[in-house]
Symmetry: D2
Subunit: 123 residues, 4 copies
Amino acid sequence: MKEDDPGSKYFTDETTDRERAVFEAGITLGAIYHQFVGTPTRNEETLKKAIEESTLAHPFIVDAEVEVLNDEKSGDTPYEYPELGGKMLKVKLTSEYGDVQAVVGMKNVPELEYPLMHIIEIK
Amino acid sequence: MKEDDPGSKYFTDETTDRERAVFEAGITLGAIYHQFVGTPTRNEETLKKAIEESTLAHPFIVDAEVEVLNDEKSGDTPYEYPELGGKMLKVKLTSEYGDVQAVVGMKNVPELEYPLMHIIEIK
Amino acid sequence: MKEDDPGSKYFTDETTDRERAVFEAGITLGAIYHQFVGTPTRNEETLKKAIEESTLAHPFIVDAEVEVLNDEKSGDTPYEYPELGGKMLKVKLTSEYGDVQAVVGMKNVPELEYPLMHIIEIK
Amino acid sequence: MKEDDPGSKYFTDETTDRERAVFEAGITLGAIYHQFVGTPTRNEETLKKAIEESTLAHPFIVDAEVEVLNDEKSGDTPYEYPELGGKMLKVKLTSEYGDVQAVVGMKNVPELEYPLMHIIEIK
């Protein structure tokens, strides 16, 4: 990998491919959350696709699945529309560095009342 | 209009429908710019649609046309990808309040080196 | 004003100074909301100052007052921290164009369950 | 650490403390970038402090140093003001999980024409 990655020399030599894959996956989750949370939308399908495309544009990301869970604003006044909240966003993505793939996700964990980002698998 | 708008009582009585239409249009331009600038993407078409949908979700917006102008990053390294810059975004939208429509836009103005937001027509 | 504003020629001639002031104020409210909502913070005072400075950096904005209302996350787990929600943000700002000043605001309106942006005064 | 972290059970058991520290650090870099890039400002010092506070509000982040490098907009027209660009942002932060600390950074790398996020040290 390192021979194809002009950025690798800026990393400490101790960085394993597993750690690098996890690092890139973490960056992408943080980016997606803070780029898109707050977006007003009435069309979850289009927003889902835009978030997936944006996820895949990050370096070393090879797969992305996004769900935008439905909010329940009814639309009775001009001011009622869904705005993408952190807990409405479910993401699973895979980064690849060298021979390692890291599968990570973000989902609302009711027990924590928090949109948790977590490592699902490193393979 | 005012009878359908539960928010109108929070505005000064002096507000004309023209001013209200222009205000809502301005809010939406500012929102779109600061929500989406910085989004990484390799698929301008999907991003364009997501921005249009988001624009239309704002109160009192009845029409939206978005263009995402192409950046020229070549993709030779893992780090080269287009990120939506303010000058790549061209937007035209129409707000409606009462009998008034305001058509406003955002476009890069080379003379000002600035993505200018401007009022195109009030009708 | 127009003689000092190289952008004015991109506006329809029908634009009054009142409408222009309201337009610039609206842009700035939309920008502030979508730039800062979602920001994690434990120090509301610093965030408030940063939002005020950012507001004043917008063209034609001459005054800004921001309040970041306290959220009540308790901090018992590593995941509990306030994230700036739209309803926690209270803003009052003044734009000036020519001889006109527009005073606008954003505040949570419980009746609408909405962070309403509104025109307070045009003078 | 795991006994104090109610989120740890959502991670694969194979996750080492090093990997977890790197993951949390990566999330925070991605979040900071996409939260703050695009912010208009005329006061880099206030913005720097707000970004540092926001960085420290993320779970498991124990230290943060931010620099906002000066842009050179001159301010001759109402439209000229610095907007925080990705390449103007220099960040160094430390995450801690269990006995491990990960020091990571973001800085513009002219060779890559890219604001690179990198792992500086894991200790």
